[in-house]
C-alpha cells in the first residue's frame, strides 16, 4: 500500500514536471507584466500584474498619472514597505478599493525565475527581432 502510494506520487510529480516544462511563456496574456526585481531573491514567487484586468476598471491615467507608476516594467522600485504605506499597488489593495495585501498569493503568483518583462509585447513576439542600432536609420538602407 505504502509502495503504491510512493509510485503514484512519483508519477504525479513527474507528469506535473513535464506539463510545466512544456508550457510556453509566449502564451501569456498581452500586456501582463512580470515584476521580479526582488521577489525571487526574497524567496517569494514573482508578481504578475494583469493590465487587461485593471484597464477594465481604471483608465491608464489613474495609475500612470495620479499614482506615479512610470512606464517601465521593474522601473519603479516597488517593494512591500511602499505598498503597506499606501503607495503603488497599496493605493488600492487596502481592503477598501480592492482586497488587501494579506492575500500574498494573488499577486505573487508567477513562475519562479521568470525575469521582469511585459508579456507578448511586439518586440518579444517578432519572429525576426529588431536589433537596436541596425535599423534606427530607415532611410540609410538596412542590410536586407
Amino acid at each position: 500500500m505504502q509502495a503504491a502510494k510512493i509510485i503514484l506520487f512519483t508519477l504525479l510529480a513527474a507528469s506535473a514536471a513535464t506539463a510545466v516544462t512544456y508550457l510556453n511563456p509566449a502564451d501569456a496574456e498581452y500586456g501582463d507584466v512580470v515584476m521580479n526585481e526582488f521577489s525571487d531573491d526574497a524567496g517569494m514567487r514573482p508578481v504578475v500584474f494583469p493590465h487587461w484586468f485593471h484597464r477594465i476598471r481604471f483608465r491608464c491615467k489613474v495609475c500612470h498619472g495620479d499614482l506615479g507608476f512610470a512606464f517601465k516594467a521593474g522601473g519603479n522600485g516597488i517593494n512591500m514597505l511602499k505598498i503597506i504605506d499606501g503607495e503603488y499597488c497599496g493605493a488600492c489593495h487596502d481592503g477598501n478599493v480592492a482586497w488587501s495585501i494579506e492575500n500574498c498569493d494573488l499577486c505573487h503568483s508567477g513562475m519562479p525565475n521568470t525575469p521582469t518583462q511585459v508579456h507578448n509585447s511586439t518586440s518579444q513576439k517578432l519572429v525576426a527581432p529588431v536589433a537596436p542600432g541596425s535599423v534606427t536609420q530607415p532611410d540609410a538602407g538596412s542590410e536586407d
Binding site: 506539463a19 487587461w52 491608464c60 512606464f71 488600492c92 478599493v97 498569493d105 503568483s109 511586439t122 534606427t136
Partner: protein, 198 residues
C-alpha cells in the same frame, strides 16, 4: 467505506492527470519534431487568451493562480479586434462594454477629452498616419505624453517605424499594452488621395 471510495477517487484523479499531461507533452513533442509542420513559427488561434494556469508565466501549483480570472471570461461580452488582447478597447469604451474609473476613488470623475487630430505624412506607399488626441485622452493625461515622449508641437518629433518597433515614441504603449504594431491601418488611416484633395 467512504475512505475506500475517497481512495478510489484519488487514484482515478491521478491516473487522469497523468494521462492528460502525457498527452499534452506528446502533442507538443510531435509539433516540435515534425520539421514540416504547417506553421513552424505562427502560434495557433486555440492558444490565444490562455487561462492563467497554462499561460506559462503563472505558477500552476500556486493556490493564488487558481483564484485568478480567465481573460476569455472577461472579454466575452466586449468588442473584438484582431490582435493584442483581441479586444477593441476604444469601441468597448464607446459602447459601454466597460466603464473604467478616471480616479482611484471617485467613479463619477469624467476624463478631460481633447478632440484634435494630428496628421503625419508618410513617404512611400503607406497611407498617412492620423494621430487622434480624442481616443488617447479618454485613457491618458496630457502629462503621460507631453513633454517626455512627445514635444507638444506638430512635426517637432521624429517618429519612424523602427523606433516604434523598438518601444519608443508611439511604441512606448503600442506593442505593449495598447493595440500592437501589427494593426497598421488603425494608425495609417488616411489615404494619400484624401490628403492631396485638402
Amino acid at each position: 467505506m467512504t475512505s475506500l471510495a475517497k481512495k478510489a477517487g484519488f487514484v482515478g484523479f491521478i491516473a487522469l492527470f497523468v494521462a492528460a499531461s502525457m498527452f499534452a507533452a506528446m502533442r507538443y513533442a510531435e509539433a516540435q519534431s515534425n520539421p514540416n509542420s504547417f506553421n513552424r513559427l505562427l502560434k495557433p488561434a486555440s492558444e490565444r487568451n490562455a487561462p492563467p494556469a497554462t499561460d506559462g508565466i503563472h505558477d500552476p501549483t500556486s493556490d493564488g493562480t487558481a483564484l485568478l480570472q480567465t481573460p476569455l471570461e472577461a472579454f466575452d461580452p466586449l468588442a473584438k479586434s484582431n490582435s493584442g488582447n483581441y479586444v477593441n478597447w476604444n469601441q468597448a469604451l464607446d459602447d459601454g462594454g466597460i466603464a473604467p474609473w478616471y480616479s482611484v476613488s471617485n467613479p463619477n470623475a469624467a476624463p478631460i477629452v481633447l478632440d484634435m487630430n494630428i496628421v503625419r505624412e508618410v513617404k512611400g506607399s503607406m497611407p498617412n498616419v492620423v494621430y487622434p488626441h480624442k481616443q488617447h485622452t479618454e485613457w491618458l493625461d496630457c502629462a503621460n505624453c507631453h513633454p517626455a515622449i512627445f514635444i507638444p508641437m506638430k512635426g517637432a518629433n521624429q517618429i519612424s517605424m523602427a523606433s516604434i518597433l523598438l518601444g519608443e515614441k508611439c511604441g512606448v504603449c503600442h506593442g505593449k499594452v495598447a493595440f500592437p504594431v501589427s494593426e497598421c491601418r488603425r494608425c495609417h488611416s488616411q489615404p494619400k488621395e484624401a490628403a492631396a484633395r485638402q
